[in-house]
Symmetry: C2
Subunit: 428 residues, 2 copies
Amino acid sequence: MTTSSEQLARIPDTHLPRIVIVGGGFGGIYLAQTLSGVNAQVVLIDKNNYYTFQPLLYQVATSGLESSSIVAPFRKFLGKQKNFYFRLTEVLQVLPEQGLVETSIGVIHYDYLVIATGASTNYYGMADIEKYAIPLKNLNDAIQLRNHILEKFEAALQAGNKEELNSLMDFVVVGGGPTGVEVAGALSELRSHVFPQDYKELDLFRMDIHLIEASPRLLNGMSDEAGKNALAYLQKMGVEVKLSTGVKSYDGNVVTLSTGEQIQTKTLVWGAGVKANPLKGINPNAILKNNRLKVNAFNQVEGYENIFAVGDVACVIGETTPNGHPMVAQPAIQQGQNLGENLKRLLKGNKNLKPFKYFDKGSMATIGRNKAVADIGNLKIGGFAAWVIWLFIHVLFLVGFKNKLFVLINWINSYFSYDKSNRLIIKR
Amino acid sequence: MTTSSEQLARIPDTHLPRIVIVGGGFGGIYLAQTLSGVNAQVVLIDKNNYYTFQPLLYQVATSGLESSSIVAPFRKFLGKQKNFYFRLTEVLQVLPEQGLVETSIGVIHYDYLVIATGASTNYYGMADIEKYAIPLKNLNDAIQLRNHILEKFEAALQAGNKEELNSLMDFVVVGGGPTGVEVAGALSELRSHVFPQDYKELDLFRMDIHLIEASPRLLNGMSDEAGKNALAYLQKMGVEVKLSTGVKSYDGNVVTLSTGEQIQTKTLVWGAGVKANPLKGINPNAILKNNRLKVNAFNQVEGYENIFAVGDVACVIGETTPNGHPMVAQPAIQQGQNLGENLKRLLKGNKNLKPFKYFDKGSMATIGRNKAVADIGNLKIGGFAAWVIWLFIHVLFLVGFKNKLFVLINWINSYFSYDKSNRLIIKR
C-alpha cells in the first residue's frame, strides 16, 4: 500500500479476502445476507447504523407508523453472521488503483468493492426548491415532514387571517410517482379521520391537498390502468390532481406552477425525482446521466474488475433495458442476491459468472384504505384486492419479526379505528 | 382586561369558566381526564404535543424500548373530551392579578390556573456538569443518551490507544435513586447480552459501569432492605457502586469524585437530583427551597384562590409531610384526581373542598431481568416477584392500548431473546 500517510481504519485483519459494501439499502443488505458464511470478510459501511425500509417512509411522515418499526440496526440482523463487520462512516472517495476506500474514520482496503449507495432527491438544479421543499428519502426526512405537517396545524390555530390560515392548511405534493400518490392519499386520510378530532377549532374544508405531476399521467412506472385508477381514487378522496403541470418556483410561501397558477402553502413535499449517488474516485466515463453507474450484466462497474454496483446507483444496460432497471426495491434486491452468488464463485476461483436477469414481480402503490393499484404480470388489480396484496407484501419484506408484528398491529388498529396514532412532534 | 397591547392567543370562547392546566405530565393529564364532561373549558398547555411516561425513559435510553411506545399525543387521548383544548406553547409568565398567562402564542385568560410543570434536572450549580453530563428527564434526553452510548461504542472500534478505549467504554452514572439504579442495571445488560454480538471486535471486560451515590445507601426513597437488595443485585451484575461519594467536577473526559479518585469517561449520566419548575409571576413567598410551590391541602398555591399546583412542582406541607410528598408519579396522579374533584365542586359553587390525602401504594425500582425491589406497605419484596409486579404496574399505567401492547411485546421478546432491539442512532 502506498498510503502510509493516511490513517488506516481499524478493522480486524482476518487474512481473508475483504468485500466492502458501501450502503445498506435493499441492494446492500440482500448482498450481505447472501454472503453469510462465505470464506471472506464482509464489511458494510453506512452513515446510519440502521437499515431503512424506504417504501414505508411516507407512513412515518403521515403519522401512520412509528419510525422504529421501519428500521433495523445492521448489527442486530447482520451481526449474527460471523464474517460480518459494520462501520458507521461516510465514504469520501475510492482509490481504485490502490484498492482502498477513504472514509471519515480512515482508509479501508478492499479486495472487492460494492457500491450500493442508492439515490437521493433530485431538485433538477432548482435551488429555491431545494431550500424550501421537504424531501422524503430517509428517516430524518420522514420525521421532519411529520413534525412539519403537525406544526403547521398547531400554527393554524393561531393564524391571524384567512390567507395565513390557507397557507398553513394547504399542502402541495410534487411528483405523481408512488411517493407523491401515497403522501397525497395519506394526507387526505388525516383530513377525513384524524384532524377533525385533533383540530376541532379548524374548518377542515379549508385543507386543500394538491398533487402536481409534470407528465400527463400518474404512476408512470406502472400500467395505464393503474395510473387511471390512482387518479380516480385520489379525486374521490378530494385530492386536487394537476397533470401535465410542472413547478417553476417556490419561496417557502408561494408555489408557482408552469401554468402560471400560484398556490399559497407553507408545505411543498418534493417527490418528483431522484438521482443516483456515485462515489468520488470512480472513472467519470462510467457515470451516466442521472449519476447512475454503468455496469455490465455481472454488475461490474465499467472499467473495473473488482468494483461492482447494485440497486438504484447501478444501471444494467441490456437489450430490453436501454435505461437500466427502475430505481425501486426489486431490482436492487435481485442484483444484491445475484452479485452475492457471483462473489461466491469468484472467491472459489470460478470466473464463470451468472448474468443478472431481472424477474419483474410487478409493482404497486397504495392510495388509502381499501384503495391500491397493482400490476402483476398482465394482471391489473385495483381497489381492495390490490390493497390487501400491498399490505401483505410490505409486511413480508420488512426486516425482523418485531417490525412485521408492530406494523401489522398498527395497520389493523388503524383500519378499525381510522386512526393514525403516531402524531408526534419530536424536535431536538 | 388591561392587556390590549398583548396579542391574545386564539382559543374559542365557549362562555364557560376556563381551567388552564400548564404541563401534561402525570398530574396534568390525570386532572384533565378527571375534568372530562364538566361544565368548563379545559385548556392544556405543554411545550410538547405528547405526554411522556417518564418512568420508562431509561429503557428508551438503553435501547430496550422505542420512543413512540412511552409517549402519547395529547390530542389523541384527551381530544375526545368535548371540553378539551390543547395549545403547543410555553408559558412565559403568569399575571395573577389579571387572570392571564402569557405564552409564546399570546396571552390566555383563566378562571382557574393549575401549575403542573413538574421538575427538571438539578445540577446544584455545577456549570461543568450541566455542560458535559447527560440528563434523563425527557424524551430528547433519552434519545440523546441512546445515541451517545451507541456512538461511543462505534468510536471505540477506532480508538487509537487503551486510554481512549477506556474512556469510550466506561460509563459513570451519578445518583443512586431509581433512575441511576435502572440505567446502571440496563447498561450492565447491554454489556452481557447485546454488545458482545454487536461489537465482537471489542473486549467487553473493558466496559466499566460506575454508580456514584452521595449518601451511604441506594434508593433513599425506599426501605433499607430495598436499598441493600438493589446494591447486591448491581454488584452481582458487575456494576461498581460507590456510596457516600460525591462528584466534584467533570470536564467531558475526567470525573473527579469527592474522594479524590478520578475516572476517565466520555459518558456521565446525571440522575442525581431534580428541582421544580415554578412559573414566573408567582409570588416568591410561595416558592420553597428546591423551587417547589407551597400549596395547601386543596393544592391552592399560597396567596391565591384560583391558582393551584399539582405533582412535582407542588409541595403539600402537612403534619406527616413537612417536606411535601416524594417527587414521583403517584402523588402527582392522586393530586391531579383530587384537584379535578375539587374543581368540579368549585364549578358548582360548592366551596366545601376535599383535602388531599396521599395513599402510598408503594414504590419500586427494577435493576435487571428478574431483579427488582418493591416496598408495598410493610411488605418488602425483591427478586423475581418484585420484577413481575414492576412490569405489570408499568404496563398498566402506560397511556393507550397500543403502547401497553407494544411495551409488553418488547419485554416478552427481550426476556426470551436477551435482546434490546432499539439500538438506533437517530440524529438530525
